[in-house]
């Protein structure tokens, strides 16, 4: 028998890093039962870090990653529950805090929720967490009955001793199980034995989202809380010179007018509306700094220079592309561009902070609780062990709330000036639009060489533009190369190019304008798939070949990519006529370890009005944990990708973003939404991401269909600036 230990759930909840000002004030988050926030006062001991079982057989599964709509809460719970063999109808979830993770030697590992990593990055250890808990629960029952564990079976939280027919439930043995040491080794089920993984179960977090009960960061209310509105210097790199607080300090509700760091000013008031109204009236003086002359035109010139530069960083090289192009029977050349994009989450950036000289606590929507904690600790001036972050459901993330916690830093800097008073900072939409961490800007020149048979034998892809890693995390670069720049065009790995070209060069002239870049849902596949997939279409037409057949001939070494392409072609009816006036386009890509393809059907009327009728999309994610949520993510990714294609694009004037709200940075509406047919075709043996990959193929499939409809090649976005009437 193994030794025993005892970690009560109470200790988990109010452990070393948790007992803070928040709890001592008796703060209570008005969350429903089905919400991933650890409620105060639970007395049940945890079976292990991942699983708590209440006496009434409620199963609480701890989730380290953040729910922002992508369904990870449900998918990860399915993974744990699969091995746990619990009653799925009794499953709820809760978030451990990053402070608890730190205090427990990072027992939950990464909190980072980006890069379509939630499931593919943690499937192994969360399933083990479920399996270990199951073994401990069975062992506790076996001990109670004084029978060998091997004689016990379990299903739906009921443990049965087969020889005697005795039964008990998880809830009855959980306390005893919690005192056991976990087994050192557990075997995970073979995928053929899965009962819950692969099932289209419903989300665990829907109910409260239908009644207004779901609390988002922007909705949080704490006793005695004040509200802050903020304005930062619109020019990137600019500073706050001064402000005339006297002009607004007597306005209704205003409590303070504060400098926040180098570049921002905030008004704190009883209500946010009062704070915002006073801020609007506050005279502010900015020192616009070195970037005051930067414009979209100056950035464009910078990128154009990179397109032709002799020196570039190599991402994928095989043979001698430049030499082979000189000898090609025929060459085709095209230059594409992709603009800055804002994440524009529906819930603007926000965070609530409570600071005392002893402790700092933050409540916020974040895609990475640990990064939020780091930001809070740095701004607070306190040791990290004296800080914690309570994660709240996100009203959208899309990458904005993962690597950047500028809103947390600001909230703490404000709260620090009002010790003991919780302050909620909420950005206006305008602030959110103008202080993003934008999808990076790039241009791309492609030159392809065709042989006498019209096959692609050489290809040079020159990307010129911004590196995210250079700005955000230089430590992730390899010898000065940002490999993320080449997503979808790399020689191997999660973002492998889908074609074999005998002589190939993909390189990057890094040109970094002073506009802060960030990870934006899909990251660099958004533009790279447009560049490569639209150019493949150009090459096919130049070669006089069918775009599907042309691609397939280059894909014999990429059978899984070819399989998803074939799947959409077949379902869409490629090769047979579409409805009158309707035209098709294709795209394929490997992204975030999944294989994806799309076939779009569009029409363009005589006035140049585009209608996307239908998109057939296929995904091979290796293993499909929840097919109905995959479907939801694929549909959603098209809204994100197509909004960028149709309307997105942030432009720069005097070092600042010109767009300020949804009137000049529009997003797709329901009337523009195509019918989406989703093919989920898991081939097994690997774990691919879901939230992002298909975003890559929406825009190029639509652009290729627009060419088929109009004869127009569109190489610059967004389409709102483009005349789509058929080429004469």
């Amino acid at each position: 028998m193994r030794d025993k230990l005892n970690v009560s759930r109470r200790e988990f909840l109010i452990g070393s890093a948790v007992l803070g000002a928040g709890f001592s004030l008796g703060l209570y988050l008005p969350m429903g039962a089905r919400n991933a926030v650890a409620a105060e006062g639970g007395e049940s001991p945890e079976v292990n870090a991942w699983v708590v079982i209440e006496p009434d057989d409620t199963v609480v599964i701890r989730i380290a990653r953040s729910e922002m709509g992508q369904g990870t809460l449900t998918g990860l719970a399915q993974l744990v529950a699969e091995e746990l063999e619990c009653d799925w109808s009794r499953v709820t979830t809760e978030y451990p805090t990053p402070g608890q993770n730190l205090a427990r030697d990072r027992i939950w590992r990464s909190f980072s929720t980006g890069g379509s990593q939630g499931i593919r990055g943690s499937h192994d250890y969360v399933r083990k967490g479920g399996a270990v808990a199951r073994e401990m629960l069975i062992e506790a029952a076996a001990e109670e009955w004084d029978v060998p564990m091997e004689e016990c079976t379990v299903a739906a939280s009921v443990i049965t001793h087969a020889p005697t027919g005795r039964t008990t439930t998880y809830g009855k043995v959980a306390a005893a199980a919690a005192e056991l040491f976990p087994p050192e080794e557990v075997a995970l089920k073979d995928p053929s034995e899965w009962k819950l993984i692969g099932r289209p179960v419903k989300r665990l977090d829907t109910a409260d989202k239908l009644t207004g009960k779901q609390v988002f960061g922007a909705d949080l209310k704490l006793p005695g809380m004040l509200n802050a509105a903020i304005r930062a210097c619109p020019t990137f790199g600019g500073r706050l010179k001064g402000f005339e607080a006297t002009k607004v300090k007597d306005k209704p509700g205003v409590r303070a007018v504060l400098r926040v760091g180098d570049d921002a000013v905030a008004v704190v008031a009883d209500t946010w509306w009062q704070a915002k109204t006073a801020l609007d009236a506050l005279p502010v003086d900015w020192e616009r700094g070195a970037n005051a002359e930067v414009s979209s035109a100056s950035i464009s010139a910078m990128l154009d220079e990179g397109l032709a530069a002799d020196e570039a960083l190599v991402g994928n090289q095989k043979g001698d592309a430049k030499g082979a192009l000189k000898g090609a029977a025929r060459t085709v050349e095209a230059t594409y561009a992709y603009p800055y994009q804002n994440h524009a989450t529906m819930e603007p950036m926000n965070a609530t902070a409570l600071w005392t000289s002893e402790r700092c606590e933050v409540w916020c929507p974040t895609q990475n609780g640990e990064a939020a904690l780091q930001a809070a600790a740095e701004a607070s001036g306190l040791e990290i062990s004296k800080c914690d972050v309570h994660k709240i459901h996100l009203g959208g993330g899309f990458g904005r709330r993962g690597s950047f916690h500028d809103f947390v830093t600001q909230a703490v800097l404000i709260a620090k000036q009002l010790p003991g008073t919780p302050v909620k900072l909420l950005w206006t939409r305008e602030e959110d639009m103008q202080h993003g961490h934008y999808h990076p800007i790039t241009k791309c020149r492609l030159v392809g060489g065709l042989d006498e048979q019209g096959d692609l034998t050489s290809l040079h892809v020159r990307i010129s533009g911004q590196s995210i890693l250079a700005a955000v995390n230089p430590a992730w670069m390899t010898n000065g190369v940002d490999t993320f720049v080449f997503q979808g065009m790399l020689p191997d790995g999660d973002h492998e190019i889908s074609y074999t070209v005998p002589d190939l060069l993909v390189d990057h002239a890094m040109r970094n304008p002073p506009v802060p870049p960030g990870f934006w849902r899909g990251v660099n596949i958004n533009q790279n798939a447009i560049y490569l997939e639209c150019f493949m279409d150009e090459l096919a037409h130049a070669a006089g070949q069918d775009p599907l057949a042309f691609r397939r001939r280059l894909m014999s070494n990429h059978p899984k990519a070819r399989a998803v392409l074939d799947a959409v072609a077949e379902k869409a009816g490629w090769g047979s006529p579409a409805a009158p006036g309707v035209y098709r386009g294709l795209a394929v890509c490997k992204a975030f370890a999944s294989y994806v393809a799309a076939c779009a059907e569009v029409s363009v009327d005589a006035g140049g009005r585009l209608k996307v009728h239908r998109i057939v999309a296929a995904t091979d994610p290796g293993y499909a944990v929840n097919p109905q949520q995959i479907e939801a993510q694929v549909e959603g990714s098209f809204v994100f990708g197509l909004s960028a294609l149709l309307y997105g694009g942030c432009t720069i004037k005097e070092g600042a973003v010109e767009q300020s709200n949804f009137h000049d940075y529009p997003s797709m509406l329901i009337k523009e939404m195509p019918k989406v047919e989703v093919i989920v075709m898991p081939s097994g043996g690997f774990w691919g991401g879901i939230g992002e990959p298909t975003i890559a193929v929406a825009a190029p499939a639509v652009l290729n269909a627009i060419f088929a409809a109009t004869g127009r090649r569109i190489r610059e976005l967004p389409l709102k600036h483009v005349d789509l009437r058929a080429a004469s």
Partner: protein, 154 residues
Amino acid sequence: MKLNVNGELIDIEVDGATPLLWVLREQLGLTGTKYSCGIGLCGSCTVLVDGEAVRSCVAPVSSFTATQKITTIEGLSPDGNHPLQRAWDKLDVPQCGYCQPGMIMSAAALLGAKPEPTDADIDEGITNICRCGTFNRVREGIHLAARIEKEGKS
């Protein structure tokens, strides 16, 4: 001034220029109604006023009287059992969920005017922004809610 919110007459003291949205959220604690754009474009702040969809972020509270019935997502049904809520639940419509109260209230106004809306009616009547991209399930949800309502009456 007095407001009739979710069937209750409520006394409030507030600057009349304050948008209804912020009175609901900050005076009445009804945070189901969301702030997102603040200029009446995205629809996250949609509430019903006498059954019609109103974008509360641009509607000064002084423009309402106690005789107008204001309904927020919290007051749509006593137990979350409105046909739209049932349809949304069945289809797992929300993703992040932030825009969904506004989406549901817009759909409620549409169903009030057109109990069996066509796709074209939905295209015209639902102009809310959803960045997660729930549109196809929203459309399906509205049709399903219409069927639930019809079956409930028959």
